[in-house]
């Protein structure tokens, strides 16, 4: 058993998540490959979206995979950082937007 919950080597085990539920697993990969492969958006654009999502979701496996994929596709460091800032801005906006609930409650409760 690994000493940590997250082990970088576990990324290589990702294709084996079909284990114990192969049908669902294969369907997932079929969907995953279609969703992340080139379509109306390029593979490069999708890799940047995935990188932003990976950082927002705090997934170390996905950050590893998509940083490497972006490098492989010639994405520059500043382009990657810009994508991360989109994720950060969306996260901050999401938090602030929820302040609406707080503001509504304050306005209702305060004299």
């Amino acid at each position: 058993m690994s000493q940590n919950y997250y082990d970088p080597k576990d990324l290589k085990d990702f294709p084996n998540i079909t284990e114990f539920a192969p049908e669902q697993g294969h369907k997932f990969f079929e969907y995953y490959n279609q969703a992340t492969g080139p379509g109306n958006l390029t593979e490069r654009e999708k890799a940047l979206i995935a990188l932003a999502v990976a950082t927002v979701r705090h997934c170390p496996y996905c950050i590893d995979a998509y940083t490497n994929k972006c490098l492989s596709l010639g994405v520059s460091n500043d382009e990657m950082m810009e994508a991360v800032h989109v994720g950060a801005a969306m996260t901050a906006g999401d938090v602030l937007a929820h302040a609406t609930q707080m503001r509504k409650i304050i306005k209702k409760k305060e004299m």
């Binding site: 290589k12 080139p38 390029t42 593979e43 490069r44 490497n68 994929k69 490098l71 492989s72 596709l73 010639g74 520059s76």
Partner: protein, 333 residues
């Protein structure tokens, strides 16, 4: 690092299966379609990833005698492509003569040039020589921006390459419907594998046209082979194990079917024969009974020879495969 030391290091792949075990059985060449001549290790650049470890300090250059012997072999046998590499091939004093002679054979002839050298006075005439003899040019450009290209090849090199690409375009190179072919080579600037050739080619084409007015024919994506300076870089930066694991993990059987050693013979500047340029740098000459020098060239014995393999061969079989002509156009796993 000398070849013996490199091979010793390459033998260590923690957790991985040695290449010979992975492929189960010997690999054989099928023909000699390409004769690749490494005409010298001297170069005006000292690129960080260079498997040849080329640079201005190197003295190894192909002699006129070896060039002549190659011409004899090419004249006598149906080898379709003459592929000239280095170092900077232009720094070999016999290259102009060889190109003019070899052009009479009517074969496909290509030169792997770093292009930056063509800005230097004594080497500028090569542009006309290449044009007159319809030599295909293959130029390394690891990124379509200056930052990464210069990081790998040296400060100011990106700009020099762009200037020469523009000159070559003016001569007709890389233009639609032109017979003057100009290809670019992408290789990763770091310890990762190349992305899809098609996706990178799209990006290169758009950026180079929009930002520099440069056009080209094809983009070849190459995987960096853990040999020479690139191997040293991997070890020094503690990336060796992870990189080898990535190569091994990406092993692709259909790439193995198409590896370039099956159709290429590599000639060293001293006339020794190798299965590829990487084996040349590891001093692994052709073996298993095949004649190992151009002086004793035997077409029948060499075209069906057993290839000499080691763990660096994983670089050519990873993902979509890698060769001097880019990916091997086979499905990745």
């Amino acid at each position: 690092m000398d070849p013996t030391e490199q091979l010793k290091h390459l033998a260590q792949i923690p957790g991985g299966i040695p290449f010979t075990e992975k492929v189960h059985q010997p690999i054989y060449s099928e023909s000699i379609e390409i004769m690749q001549l490494n005409v010298g290790r001297r170069c005006n650049l000292t690129c960080k990833h260079c498997h040849v470890e080329a640079g201005p300090h190197r003295t190894e250059l192909m002699t006129r005698q070896v060039f002549e012997k190659c011409l004899d072999v090419l004249t006598a046998h149906p080898i379709g492509t003459i592929d000239i590499t280095g170092g900077a091939p232009e720094m070999n004093p016999h290259l102009s003569w060889f190109i003019s002679e070899a052009a009479h054979l009517g074969r496909r002839m290509l030169v792997r040039s770093n292009l930056a050298i063509l800005l230097e006075g004594p080497y500028q005439p090569f542009i006309d020589l290449y044009t007159q003899n319809k030599v295909e040019i293959v130029a390394s450009l690891p990124d379509y921006r200056a930052l990464r290209t210069d990081r790998q090849r040296g400060k100011g090199i990106f700009e020099a390459i762009i200037r020469i690409l523009q000159q070559l375009n003016q001569k007709g190179y890389g233009q639609p419907d032109s017979h003057l072919l100009l290809h670019l080579v992408y290789n990763p600037v770091g310890a990762y594998l190349p992305g899809a050739q098609e996706a990178l080619a799209h990006e290169y084409r758009q950026r180079l046209t929009d930002e520099h007015g440069v056009t080209f024919n094809q983009l070849f994506c190459l995987t960096n082979c853990p040999v020479g300076r690139y191997l040293e870089y991997l070890i020094r930066t503690d990336n060796y194990e992870e990189y080898m694991a990535e190569l091994i993990n990406a092993f692709n059987w259909s790439a193995l079917e198409n590896v370039m050693c099956r159709t290429t013979l590599s000639v060293g500047c001293d006339g020794k024969l190798y299965d590829c340029d990487f084996n040349q740098m590891l001093a692994l000459s052709v073996n298993h009974g095949a004649p190992a020098h151009i002086d004793i060239f035997n077409f029948d014995q060499l075209r069906k020879r057993q290839i000499v393999v080691a763990n660096h061969c994983y670089a050519c079989t990873a993902g979509a495969g890698s060769s001097c002509q880019g990916t091997l156009d086979c499905a990745s796993p």
